[in-house]
């Protein structure tokens, strides 16, 4: 009989090896069809009319000229804002669907909205503009601890709103009629995409079909069907035709994303030996028109004995915040690690020594110590390290920076059906999605591993809501969830097959195993049948078994786990005459339990580092504080890192004994948390003072140098 526990290292056929992603060939030949690429007969193109004001009463919406245009087939207006307020630039007020994209654009330009503009709140860098009472937290006796501290560092830190900038814009193609609906969305949540849509569309929710085989990036911003999903559906229903509605790039940047900002002062107290005794963080920021939760400070060093913190929300008239890889963590990490490194500098201590000295204040001291040593070796810390600012006389200063981070990553609830057919074919159906992280590949690896078959002998069907329900892909929950449900379903199906084979062979099913394309008496291939011979014994039947990942149970079984730590270091050069920061090298050391596909896992960490370089050096939504318009809602001025910006990147995955037996843990969030902190710390180490805000643009660097530091 097969057991659902993961096989030991020496028994693994596929798991842990570096496999090519299965959809690589269709992606690398341009044949992959994304929602944006779906063209169905009779399809119309929709364009939306966004509010031009950050705060205004909407007196009237006149779509008559658009409706009268040839080629316009349906018009929608938001009755909900008529006579009421629009609350951010980009809020969708009306939409049209027309025969061509050009006609739709022309028609939307004919929509006339009469507004009464009001004074809006845009600025998010002044805590006195906050709404409501700040959240407050106190542990220990911070006042006494600061009093007793040998050294107290106080600094200001800030990280602005950035946006997701998915390459495939948000949106969908849909075909909606009375009887039902088909949606092809770009989504992180296939199984539950349609939840809550039925009433708006007047279609039974059970009749809404959703398909998403590949999608062009989400990063936390594509969990729901969103307003444009409903608008597209209503336009389709009205016109009796399929409708494509994808956000244009400017709207994508303004309303399709938004990671909350975080600013504030942090005070750290330590004794003269470098032991941190107290922290006080007064934070504020905006989630735009949406909610706001201040980032976790202290981050990772959560056991600092005396703590005070407060968080103030500033509700601004901007697009609402959405989850962005590791919500709150990159901000909390930057603020905490920068304040820690500043404290080390004030003490005149080496940053690595200081971090190591305080690891007892974290939940995983041994792991971080191990990871810090590995990262230090990888980047050549001993050879390159110097105390803050001790970086020579020339205009180009070089420095090293350190950061550590944590994440949960427990698998989400997930169901998977596995079928074994009499012709020997094996397939699974699971309502998950592949955001580009290798989910399809990993599910296939688990299925093939369990059956003892090569990869091409099994097939994973994903990306459709007709399949068993699997969770949304967010919070690094996918890999643990789908690996567990697939493993459970595949084991159950295999055991059914072993029962059939055992009866025919006159063996005890308990003694049989699937290995290398055969069903055999465990460890004895002289008593065996081939996989196909075994399946032929099913006659006209198929085996169909469902695996249900109940996270608590699967954790007990060792299939999955939660809680990881990682360490990153950055080596940068800063030209103090131009303010330009150059990444020389970054290293990432990361644990994530049992790794299914080493290749896609490593890619994921590289991706986290690069996305981190981007928000550390370039990314920032720049708003006009008077009109509330985003001034860089395009890709020239909302800059992303390119190939020349990333330096040399090195990744080390913590695997083997001590890690593998924990089971599978997610990896999407962890590697993107630390780069901002590590790079900022490296810049401080190089130029001898803290540049208090990200991104580390030349103007910020030069201003900081001109001011000569903040403390």
């Amino acid at each position: 009989m097969a057991s659902p526990q993961w096989p030991k290292a020496d028994k693994r056929l596929h798991i842990g090896k570096p496999y090519d992603r299965l959809d690589g060939p269709i992606k690398s030949t341009g044949q992959a069809k994304y929602a944006y690429d779906v063209n169905v007969p009779g399809m119309l193109y929709a364009k939306v009319f966004p509010s031009r004001y950050a705060l205004a009463d909407v007196n009237s919406i006149d779509t008559s000229a658009a409706e009268a245009m040839d080629g316009v087939k349906a018009v929608w207006i938001d009755e909900g804002v008529l006579g009421k307020e629009v609350r951010y630039v980009g809020q969708i007020i009306a939409a049209v669907a027309a025969e061509t994209e050009e006609l739709a654009a022309e028609a939307i330009a004919l929509v006339k909205v009469d507004y009464t503009p009001k004074e809006a709140l845009i600025i998010d860098t002044d805590p006195s503009l906050g709404s409501g009472r700040p959240s407050e937290r106190e542990e220990g006796t911070p006042a006494e601890a600061f009093e007793a501290a040998d050294v107290v560092h106080e600094g200001y830190y800030g990280i602005p709103v950035i946006t997701h900038c998915c390459f495939e814009a948000h949106g969908q193609v849909c075909d909606v009629n009375e009887a039902g609906a088909q949606f092809w969305p770009s989504t992180q949540n296939v199984s539950k995409y349609a939840n809550g849509m039925g009433e708006s569309l007047g279609v039974p929710e059970s009749e809404i079909k959703v398909d998403c085989q590949v999608m062009g990036g989400g990063f936390g911003s594509k969990f729901g069907h969103d307003k444009w999903g409903v608008v597209g559906g209503l336009l389709s229903k009205k016109a009796g035709r399929p409708v494509k509605l994808m956000l244009e790039r400017d709207l994508e940047l303004m309303v399709g994303g938004n990671r909350p900002s975080a600013y504030g002062t942090v005070k750290v107290g330590a004794d003269k030996d470098g032991n941190v005794t107290a922290i006080d963080a007064k934070l504020f920021g905006t989630g735009g028109n949406g909610g706001y939760r201040p980032p976790p400070v202290p981050y990772v060093f959560t056991k600092i004995p005396n703590q005070l913190s407060s968080g103030q929300r500033i509700q601004t008239n901007r697009g609402g915040q959405r989850a962005w890889r590791a919500p709150g963590h990159p901000q909390g990490c930057f603020i905490t690690m920068a304040a820690m490194e500043d404290t080390a500098a004030k003490l005149g201590m080496d940053a690595l020594d200081f971090f190591k000295q305080n690891l007892a204040l974290t939940n995983r001291p041994e792991l971080y110590a191990q990871e810090l040593d590995i990262a230090a070796d990888m980047i050549g810390y001993k050879e390159k390290a110097h105390l803050r600012g001790d970086s020579g006389d020339g205009p180009v200063k070089r420095g090293l920076g350190i950061s550590i981070h944590q994440w949960g990553g427990a698998g989400h609830p997930s169901e998977c059906d596995v079928s074994i057919h009499a012709d020997g074919s094996v397939e699974c159906r699971i309502g998950t999605q592949d955001l580009g992280v290798g989910t399809r590949t990993c599910v296939t690896m688990v299925l093939a591993e369990t059956m003892g078959l090569p990869m091409d002998a099994v097939k994973a069907n994903i990306g459709n809501n007709a399949y068993p329900i699997s969770g949304a892909s967010g919070g690094s929950t996918t890999i643990g969830g789908v690996s567990s449900s697939t493993r459970l379903a595949a084991t159950a199906a295999l055991n059914k097959l072993l029962d059939v084979v055992a009866a025919r062979m006159g063996e005890d099913a308990l003694s049989l195993e699937a290995s290398n394309g055969r069903i055999q008496v465990t460890g004895d291939d002289s008593k065996s049948v081939t996989w196909n011979e075994a399946c032929a014994m099913l006659g006209t039947n198929s085996i169909n078994e469902r695996g249900v990942n109940e996270p608590g149970e699967s954790t007990k079984m060792g299939l999955m786990d939660s809680g990881v730590g990682g360490c990153q270091m950055a080596d940068v050069s800063v030209d103090i005459e131009t303010g330009v920061v150059t990444i020389n090298e970054m290293v990432a050391v990361q644990d994530c339990g049992l790794i299914i596909d080493m290749k896609t896992a490593t890619t994921q960490v590289h991706g986290g580092l690069i996305m981190g370089v981007t928000y550390a050096l370039f990314e920032e939504c720049v708003y006009d504080n008077r009109t509330g318009r985003m001034l860089n809602a395009d890709m020239e001025f909302y800059r992303l890192a390119g190939l020349k910006d990333i330096g040399t990147l090195k990744v080390h995955m913590m695997t083997g004994p001590g890690f593998d037996e924990r089971g599978v843990i997610g990896l999407g969030e962890p590697p993107v948390i630390s780069p901002g902190a590590a790079i900022s710390n490296a810049v401080a180490n190089a130029i001898g003072l803290r540049v208090p805000e990200l991104p580390l643009t030349p103007d910020r660097v030069l201003n900081a140098i001109a001011k000569g530091g903040q403390s």
Partner: protein
Amino acid sequence: MSKETRGSDPQGVSRRGFLKGVGAGSAAAGFIGVGENTAQAEGQDAPAIVGPGDGTYTLNIDGESKEVTAEPRATLLDVMRNRLDVTSAKKVCDRGTCGACTIFIDGEPAYACSMLALEAIGHKITTIASLGTPEMMSALQKAFVKHDAQQCGFCTPGFIVAATDLLNKNPNPTREQVRDGLGGNLCRCGTYVGVQEAVLEAAQSMKGGA
């Protein structure tokens, strides 16, 4: 601010918004210039598509002549994607910044979002479809798969077209030349490490095969 032509306020019309908005007029006149030259070279009549409204013309895409009916203001990218179901070139920035719509025009790389379809009449348009199929990938495409040079994959076709051009012009690039050569293509997932390795390896394997 690129789409400030929305609504009744004409403020802030961008260069590209202007190009699209008045394609029926001056931009189309520009096209006729190109069309005339090409037509003269080939001894054909220049198509007189000046708008407003649709015109019918022929584009040569991946060696096939495809007749298309579209307004003169439509970009090549929109015409390929919306009228001809040629969707490998992606619409991302829609203004020549990200490289996701990179194709070849007469063997030279171009951004399909930043030219009118009319400008491509009489020219050879080549997309990634001409470079390989999942069953018969080019050396570069194989290397992209092997080095996992894609995550979501939305930027990948543009990268492969651009990298193909890079290797055509410099079969033996250094790492630095790869970084320079592909600096016009952006990726949000952060697959640059794989891209770099893939291009360097493809250069080696193509040399070995020659």
